[in-house]
Subunit: 192 residues, 2 copies
């Protein structure tokens, strides 16, 4: 027996997501969340920087994960090759341990609230920052590194959105491939 009920953080995440879906993000107060989790308001803010962050915890590690995956990839791979080969494994790593149902519920909550969408965009921005640094560490020049990072993140984001809109079928790697094919097709079109 612990001195307190263990898993406070997880209980808070669960209660928050449930309440956001039941009555909306704005209508949900932090005291409501903590009451459902059997904790106090102050404890909520010890676990999460703000009310929005409760849906994005655990994603702090994404930038490091991205950096590690890039460092481990064969140095011979060019940026577009790395994106083609690395996006699916990266996605698997990021979503590991998360059920499709959880991801769909989380998506619904975020889509219903601009403030949450804003926070999600910031997470993607941090991911792009890590990718940019990773590309630079592979010898890519600054401009190309930033472009490659933005392309990777855009592809990832679009693929995940489509995958969730289709309730997980076809699977994420297949959807990422479809998206990459469309990207190649698009960027090979005449441009001037």
């Amino acid at each position: 027996m612990g001195r307190w009920q263990p898993g406070a953080r997880e209980r808070l995440e669960q209660a928050a997501l449930d309440l956001f879906l039941e009555q909306g993000f704005t209508q949900t107060t932090v005291p409501q969340i903590t009451a459902r989790a059997g904790l106090t308001t102050r404890t909520f803010f010890r676990h999460f920087a703000d009310k929005r962050e409760v849906l994005f915890a655990g994603e702090e590690q994404v930038p490091e994960q991205v950096a590690r995956l890039m460092a481990e990839a064969p140095p011979s791979l060019g940026p577009m090759e790395l994106i083609s080969e690395g996006l699916a494994p990266a996605a698997a790593k990021i979503f590991e341990g998360r059920s499709l149902d959880y991801l769909l519920r989380r998506r619904a909550a975020i889509d219903a609230e601009p403030a949450l969408h804003e926070r999600e965009l910031r997470k993607f921005s941090l991911m792009a920052e890590a990718l940019k640094q990773g590309f630079r560490d592979r010898g890519i020049d600054d401009l190309a590194a930033q472009l490659a990072a933005e392309i990777a993140v855009a592809t990832f984001r679009i693929a995940v959105t489509r995958w969730l809109n289709q309730h997980g079928d076809p699977d994420l790697p297949a959807t990422i491939n479809q998206t990459l094919v469309a990207m190649r097709h698009l960027t090979n079109m005449p441009s001037t």
Copy 2:
């Protein structure tokens, strides 16, 4: 003589940007801003939805402007052609009436505060949404429209960032072209 000092909105924007740069966004309270502008706190929130929005007012029109520019472009242009030809005029439209100095000061304030960066990302997201719809209206399929929209916004964002980092030299159209060239070069590299 008006019944009140005219230009309340502009005075608030000016006072807010000054204070954000002087003492930081978080340290600046809305009463401080309104005191400097000679107004009351309540009036601030009549002009701006929240404290962050004071740096982004006027950008509500960007999505419509984008939609109009896209509708006016020759229907024969493919998506990549449209991006190549339309980005510079769109940027000119968006920044018209804003001095380089203002843009640099605004940039400094945003870069210093994650919360402001978050809001900026949302503005870009809305711009991407408008672009996506514009591409669809031109007969592009959903996936390609979304990809093209994200490519356009990423290119725009990166070019503007670089342009401001160089204090406006070379000029924005030239920087946009450089960025587009780098994008073409990157996406034409072998991918698998």
